[in-house]
Symmetry: C2
Subunit: 131 residues, 2 copies
């Protein structure tokens, strides 16, 4: 079986529309650039689909590995505890697997955005746009 | 008087260290790349310095405009209400001024990061790193 990558972009979820809009925009952007990758979104709370439903929705796509990446700026208790629990990760582990279409699909857990240089460039761009 | 730009990178603040680390890393990165710009950090709550103290700390730097940019992924009530109130912005306005060293310094309010293509690139990078 050839390898096929899935990306699950995980949002915090919000009563306001902004978080969902951003996570969906990120997912659409990735899907547009990487047409060989199956991209889905899932939300920790307050929006649909849930992370569980999003994982289940990879059924039929043929993905062999799903990278579950939190679209969060910083780490925190949601990143270290809440989302790993929903993904079924054992404490301290960043890898697990689920059954989809009778196959074992690996799930790997990605890091949040963090203080990457790209974030600094974007903050400076926002500063210049505001002038 | 020649123009000199200040950038105030605004963090949410957190009891955990991650948010402050990221906002400081973003500020250091901008300051390293743009040596003509005065960069400060300020936090909405839970960390020091506060946004008010950070604004006051531009005294003596000679900045003529401060771009106050929230290092937040998505808009929400903090972005639309709480931070504008602290900055002294009138409702719906994205510009005000403060007195520093006896001079009028313009404050402009920047947008949060949002669903920029750079964020999507970074989420995909995090997915690849996790494999």
């Amino acid at each position: 079986m050839s390898e096929k990558l899935g990306v699950l972009a995980i949002g915090h979820g919000s009563k306001l529309p902004y978080n969902k809009e951003i996570v969906e925009s990120v997912a659409n952007n990735i899907a547009g650039k990487h047409t060989d990758v199956v991209v889905k979104v899932g939300f920790m709370n307050m929006n649909e689909p849930s992370i569980e439903d999003a994982l289940a929705s990879f059924a039929g796509t043929g993905v062999t590995t799903i990278a579950a990446v939190p679209v969060f700026l910083a780490s925190g208790v949601h990143i270290t505890k809440d989302i790993p629990k929903i993904l079924g990760l054992e404490e301290g582990s960043e890898k697990t697997s689920i059954q989809l279409d009778g196959n074992n699909v690996t799930i790997v857990y990605g890091k949040p955005l963090g203080g990457d240089e790209l974030i600094a460039d974007l903050v400076f761009k926002r500063a210049q746009e505001a002038l």
